[in-house]
């Protein structure tokens, strides 16, 4: 009877006369369907398909997750014994879940949300929640101390959600925020309430007479969570204070010291896949993540955030530019730091670092690069074009904090935009803007190309084309920089010549006017001219290094080809394509670039032919020796240029020759140049290995036993892999 009444309540109408029987229509339509036809919404594409779940498919249906009895029966309202050790173990595991989530890119449900206490708190959150756990065990450690830990971690989670919503990084790739249907993060109390709750918990622990390591550990955990809750200050107040980050490092180090002495095991079932089974889950089931065994992840987080905050101390566009170039270059920074950087740098009030409007910031770059003040060239350019360029520059900055793969893709997109901007500046005859844009475009083309080696995009047979092309780009950039330097030099000389003229002029109005002009130039222009000249010196050295390293790689490829070890095409011809098409596809990003024009396919072929030694016998040996000697000379030049740059960096750009703008990233830039130096030396050694090995084996006629691999050395710079000889493995042996 009760069942009938429940089913009756599901009835949509009591008036059956109003209903239309569609059975026959349905049958008729079905009969017209071909068996292979699928009925789907037009918007259902492959993306929808690959993100679909499937009932009763154990790989895709999280309701099929099998839980243990402990997991099913786990009750947050029970104070599991012994309370201090258990609460410490739960809080510790939760923090290691945070590290796994944020440092190891794991998902939210398999880390933070796998904690039953987190789930319980988020389930109970309503607007206006004040600090306090949603469970009641009657034990203060569970109800108060653990409660505040969970609250603090949820507060951090909410902050991360806010960071993600800024659209800087990509969900699923850089950061997972599968919130399992919890829309309650906004109901969390404010930062002050959360901090108070954590501080009160600390006070409770202070009152304990227990001197166990668990107690010490739990205090450190609370302090760490307070530091994590303060992370948002760098965004809400653009705070540059690092005291909480230092405390985070200090406490994480302390915990790392305690870990080996502690046996921590949370109550069984406190962390599980329970949430995936029981809440709205739009993703396939996933096993609980293997957690890190210490808190080093927090040290990485704190150090990386500290690093990005240094940008606030930049005193010139040159310094912000160099900062952005280096801060994420050697290793991928923590995702929080990578998101914070553009948000801290490019602010909501449409300023850069709260100091410059976007346009001012852009003009500063052009000014420092050209040593001309904006007023001299601003009027001829439309505001729209300046605005577009400013946005492009900010996009360049933002791209610097992307993950290593997106970073290269960002450049790919930017190439055509820089090219288009340059063409627009050319059309309005604005040489200064045009020059700077050309510099950015060429630098981006080189970075995009070489980054491909770091990401293993190129096969060994492509090494020649890519290195020769970067050599070609470097040559263009070098010529351009030399021209710019000559212009600066002329301007400096013009000012000095005023002084000479002054000495020759007789006293009078003309002399007074020239003196004023000279004074003005000395007071307002000379310093920038000298700085720009020295910066161009640095850029020239840097591009020379790139050019030489590319040339060395090109020579090594040619030597390997001379021995018949490699060619600039696939070893087996494609049935469906051809070498020209494959080459053109590789150079697709550049084929629309106006200047420098992409050389034709034939030019690549011809230049390789020019490098390869085709002579036989003694003539071969002579040319080979010449090639290896050339490599040695280039390596020496590279090492010498690197040394000069490193000296400049170490001397804080005060040697009067080079301005590197690396004050804020001194250590990172030095490390980078050390790596480059190591690469140069490794290339030198490789030349000798290649020649010695192949000369010996050519006599034994077994050079076909070798193949070439692009190898990254651990201490070297991945943009220039070593073309290494390897003995072929017989796959059927």
């Amino acid at each position: 009877m009760e069942v009938d009444s429940i089913l009756g309540s599901l009835s949509i109408t009591d008036d059956f006369d109003q209903l239309v029987d569609v059975t026959s229509l349905f049958d008729e339509l079905c009969s017209k369907l071909k068996p292979e036809a699928i009925v789907k919404d037009p918007r259902f594409d492959l993306f929808e398909g690959t993100h679909s779940l499937e009932v009763n498919n154990s790989k895709l249906d999280s309701s099929l997750i099998e839980l243990t009895a402990e997991e099913i029966e786990f009750d947050v309202n029970v104070a599991y014994d012994p309370p201090l050790a258990s609460v410490t173990a739960i809080a510790d595991r939760l923090l290691r879940c945070v590290i796994s989530w944020l440092n190891d890119y794991q998902t939210l449900p398999t880390t933070v949300l796998s904690c039953r206490y987190t789930e319980s708190l988020l389930s109970s959150l309503v607007k206006g929640t004040t600090a306090g756990s949603s469970w009641c065990t009657g034990n203060i450690l569970y109800d108060k101390v653990l409660g505040s830990c969970i609250l603090g971690v949820c507060y951090l989670t909410k902050f991360v959600q806010k960071l993600l919503s800024a659209g800087i990084v990509f969900e699923e790739e850089d950061l997972n925020f599968n919130n399992m249907g919890f829309n309650t993060f906004d109901n969390l109390p404010g930062q002050d309430v959360v901090i108070n709750s954590l501080t009160e918990s600390l006070q409770i622990l202070e009152a304990y007479s227990d001197d166990s390591l668990h107690l010490t550990m739990l205090k450190h955990i609370l302090k760490i969570i307070i530091c994590l809750v303060h992370l948002e200050d760098h965004l809400t107040d653009y705070s540059t204070k690092t005291s909480h980050l230092d405390e985070l490092i200090e406490n994480a180090n302390s915990v790392n010291g305690i870990f080996p002495q502690l046996q921590l095991s949370p109550p069984k079932g406190a962390f599980s896949t329970y949430i995936q089974k029981h809440r709205s889950n739009q993703f396939p089931p996933r096993k609980i993540t293997k957690l890190p065994t210490d808190y080093s992840g927090f040290i990485t987080l704190a150090n990386d955030v500290k690093t990005i905050l240094l940008v606030d101390k930049a005193e010139s566009a040159l310094e912000t530019y160099q900062f952005a170039k280096f801060f994420n270059k050697l290793e991928q920074r923590h995702v929080i730091a990578r998101i914070l950087f553009p948000l801290f740098f490019i602010r909501d009030d449409r300023t850069v670092l709260g100091k410059f409007s976007y346009t001012q910031f852009y003009l500063l770059h052009v000014k420092e690069f050209s040593a001309q003040t904006p007023s001299e060239f601003e009027s001829s350019i439309g505001n729209e074009l300046i605005q577009e360029s400013s946005n492009m520059l900010l996009e360049w900055y933002q791209n610097c904090s992307q993950n290593t793969c997106r970073y290269r893709q960002g450049f790919n997109r930017q190439l055509i935009l820089w090219d288009s901007l340059q063409a627009q500046f050319e059309s309005v005859n604005s040489q200064v803007y045009c020059s700077w844009t050309y510099f950015m475009k060429l630098s981006s083309m080189i970075e995009f190309s070489l980054k491909g080696f770091d990401l293993d995009i190129y096969k060994p047979f492509e090494a020649y084309s890519m290195f020769w092309y970067v050599y070609y780009l470097s040559h263009h950039l070098e010529t351009f920089l030399k021209d710019s330097q000559n212009d600066i030099e002329s301007n400096i000389n013009a000012i000095h010549s005023m002084n000479k003229k002054l000495k020759k002029l007789k006293a009078g109005e003309k002399k007074d006017q020239l003196r004023l002009k000279y004074r003005f130039a000395m007071d307002n222009e000379m310093e920038q001219l000298q700085a720009t000249k020295q910066f161009l010196n640095y850029l020239l050295k840097e591009i020379n290094i790139t050019k030489s390293l590319c040339l060395i790689e090109v020579f090594q490829f040619a030597i390997l080809k001379s021995f018949g070890l490699i060619d600039n095409k696939n070893s087996t011809p494609s049935k469906f394509s051809n070498e020209r098409l494959i080459h053109n596809l590789r150079f697709k990003p550049f084929n629309s670039i106006g200047v420098p024009e992409l050389p034709e396919y034939e030019v690549f072929q011809q230049t390789l032919k020019d490098f390869v030694i085709e002579e036989k016998g003694a003539a071969f040996d002579i040319k080979l020796e010449r090639a290896t000697n050339f490599i040695e000379t280039e390596v020496r030049n590279v090492v010498s240029s690197i040394d000069e740059i490193m000296q400049g960096i170490k001397g804080g750009d005060n040697n009067g020759v080079l301005v590197t703008g690396t004050r804020l990233v001194q250590e990172l830039s030095l490390e980078y140049y050390c790596k480059l130096k190591h690469t140069s030396k490794a290339l030198s050694v490789n030349s000798k290995v290649i020649v010695n090995t192949l000369k010996k084996n050519i006599k034994n006629k077994d050079s076909h036993e070798y193949k070439v691999e692009l190898v990254h050395t651990t201490e070297g710079w991945n943009y220039f892999p070593i073309q290494t000889l390897r003995i072929k493995q017989d796959r059927y042996k």
Binding site: E36, L46, C405, N412
Partner: protein
């Protein structure tokens, strides 16, 4: 062993189920029934199977390739290799290579400008197979797969349209 290659018979539900089983057992990504229906029902002519006529089950595929083709940004026709699997006991006999060749040949005859696919950075067998056919790595994708591995996007160019940026092909849009 006598391997025969043939196109999918979409009306054969048993074949459909065995393809799904074969791929499910092999690929790291869990695919729902919708993914299979998406490919197989919309482009049945671009799915090929390999069967062993000498085995006890000559109707059960021991290998298959699943593809699609559609306009990419409305400017070029892109073929896409979605899935490729060969039963472990049949590997090392060139079956995968043959399946790929048959599928590409079909897509080339259908006027595709390029063939695209993604594969795990660590899957050297797949990389060797495709790169041996002329595919090149166009980009690397960070943590692309559910198993957290990076992926390469590979492309094989079939016509010059593949070698020009989409933006610059806009004037010659494909008729749809």
């Amino acid at each position: 062993m006598e391997i025969v290659y043939k196109p999918l018979d979409i009306r054969n539900e048993e074949q459909f189920a065995s393809i799904k089983k074969l791929i499910d057992a092999d690929l790291s990504e869990p695919y729902s029934i919708y993914v299979y229906r998406y490919f197989l029902n919309q482009w049945p002519e671009l799915t090929y199977i390999a069967v062993d006529n000498k085995s006890g089950t000559p109707n059960i595929p021991i290998g298959c390739i699943v593809c699609k083709m559609d306009p990419h940004r409305n400017v070029r026709l892109r073929g896409y290799i979605g899935m490729l699997a060969v039963e472990s006991t049949y590997r090392g006999h060139g079956i995968a290579k043959k399946l790929v060749e048959i599928a590409i040949d079909k897509m080339q005859r259908e006027h595709c400008d390029e063939i695209m696919l993604e594969t795990e950075v660590e899957n050297s067998a797949a990389l060797n197979l495709y790169e041996g056919m002329g595919f090149i790595r166009m980009k690397r994708m960070f943590r692309y797969y559910l198993n957290e591995g990076d992926a390469f996007k590979l492309i094989l160019p079939l016509t010059e349209r593949s070698c020009t940026r989409s933006t610059f092909l806009m004037h010659g849009r494909l008729a749809t």
